[in-house]
Symmetry: C2
Subunit: 312 residues, 2 copies
């Protein structure tokens, strides 16, 4: 069965893009609804290349106000508008970005055809920022040179799956099925109680994805992303460059892997690689010394949360 949560990485570079790596942008697909996380320069072109449907994006999350995570947004919003979009965009970003964005769109005479609902991020503790039918999203603080936030996407527990044969066997009216999927027993017309476990199968486990970029290592971070299926964590530097990581507020491969271990994550993807690394295989190998289930972020690649295979 296909995973209900799929990640497409559009950009895996740090501040300096390379010919093969664009600045940060992820698209998370949860039950065919798309969540754009960060929007580095070139995001709209990468969306075209990966054939992702612009209209399915209704929520955009900006982790922090550094250009390599934001500078694709002006073009993308413009493009939405030129395509005649009318659905609002829910934009989650550090609190001061609302004014910056509106003023810059104004400078460029961009009149959007849709509303931007701005949800300011400022909390020092995890806070629920989205709660809908299929999932919750929590923002949590990172530690970087400017206020920065990670995002945890948790699928809600899916309904139980009804066993099709039991519908005929017990003559279950369609109108009762939603309640049964929620776990109710079925009372047959003769008054006999059919236990829910007899007519349904348990649902798949809910999936989760956490995005942690940009951040230096700090112990509390693991507690924000406890037991996550897929942890994306930046690893700008190799383990020998702790000094640079410290100065710049970034992480090494070891930092990312340590957080994955402490969080009891199932799988780790590292990215946001410094342009100094032509080949990122050694970075992945380093992280695997500590956390074996580590995979690299690769531009344009799709990852099924809960089912990631090795692209190395």
């Amino acid at each position: 069965m296909q995973s209900a949560m799929k990640l497409t990485i559009l950009g895996s570079s740090s501040a300096l893009p390379t010919s093969g790596r664009y600045p940060s942008a992820h698209v998370l697909n949860v039950h065919e609804r798309l969540f754009l996380i960060d929007c580095g320069e070139g995001t709209q072109m990468q969306l075209r290349k990966t054939k992702i449907r612009f209209a399915k994006i209704n929520h955009i999350f900006i982790s922090h106000l550094h250009g390599d995570h934001v500078f694709g947004l002006y073009g993308l919003l413009s493009t939405f508008s030129l395509m005649g979009r009318t659905n609002p965009i829910h934009l989650y970003a550090p609190e001061n970005y609302d004014n910056i964005l509106r003023s810059h769109l104004n400078d460029f005479d961009i009149k959007l055809s849709f509303q931007i609902d701005f949800i300011p991020l400022s909390a020092r503790d995890p806070v629920l920022i989205l709660n809908d039918k299929y999932l919750t999203v929590t923002a949590f603080p990172l530690q970087h040179r400017v206020p920065a936030f990670g995002f945890l996407f948790r699928e809600k527990k899916p309904d139980r799956n009804i066993i099709k044969e039991s519908i005929v066997k017990f003559n279950i009216p369609l109108v009762r099925i939603p309640a049964i999927k929620k776990g109710e027993d079925f009372i047959a017309s003769d008054g006999v109680i059919i236990k829910n476990e007899e007519i349904t199968m348990p649902p798949s486990e809910p999936l989760s994805y956490a995005y942690c970029s940009d951040t230096k290592y700090f112990k509390r971070l693991a507690s924000f992303v406890k037991n996550v299926n897929l942890l994306y964590h930046e690893a700008t530097f190799d383990k020998s460059r702790e000094d640079l990581a410290e100065i710049t507020g970034h992480s090494t491969t070891y930092d990312a892997a340590k957080t994955a271990v402490a969080a009891n994550a199932h799988t780790l993807i590292i990215g946001h690689f410094s342009a100094r690394y032509k080949d990122i295989t050694p970075l992945v190998m380093e992280a695997r010394e500590i956390f074996p289930e580590t995979y690299p972020a690769i531009d344009g690649k799709n990852y099924e949360v809960g089912n990631i295979s090795d692209p190395l």
Copy 2:
């Protein structure tokens, strides 16, 4: 002999980029000095792909303040800075952009490692904006929805080429050669005057390139780019969409070709194609009905000014 003026087109889309066409950006190479003209989103990634050396760019020209001509600039300036650039950038742009740019860099906490020398554009007539050893650059007004400018790059008349054998034959001291290349005769030690034409060859004709985007058709434009070798002119629409061209302040294929004819241009490149055209061959064919020496703008392609071959 290689042309002293080469054009690389980094982006040929109009406001909506496609998977194969990025927003506007051209790099003109004149005697190995690079001039960046417009800087749409993704320009720095296209520079990487075309292996153009960032450090050779010292002059950036912005035609007008629409995002598809500007939104790559923030990332590019950031990258210059991260690469440790110290040489100033000469930025030629509509006059109100100075404040917009500085305020936006400030919003993003970007402290550049180099100066930006801002040259404001506002004139209603052609004005010389750069005059150096090898070339002059003139800005001239276009007609668009916002103030917009075209740029004409004219190579200065190169020196005459000295005939190597004559140096030995007439025993010409090295110190005299620069003056001879400028056209002076040589007076030999016995007082005999050797005519310049005897010891030099005429130089190649100076080359020129004009960039016209975005603009609607207007008659006076041709007079600004008279006799240019290579005219780049936007052709957002095919000839049947005059109505759209009029409303949006853009040109059709015929408009571009008519200006090329009236200007007595040698060669025309059309670009800034609307995303509606998957195949741009018919647009080139249309323009050729009026101006046969028309070629398409293609992302990543190099064009030798004065020597363009057919990529169709």
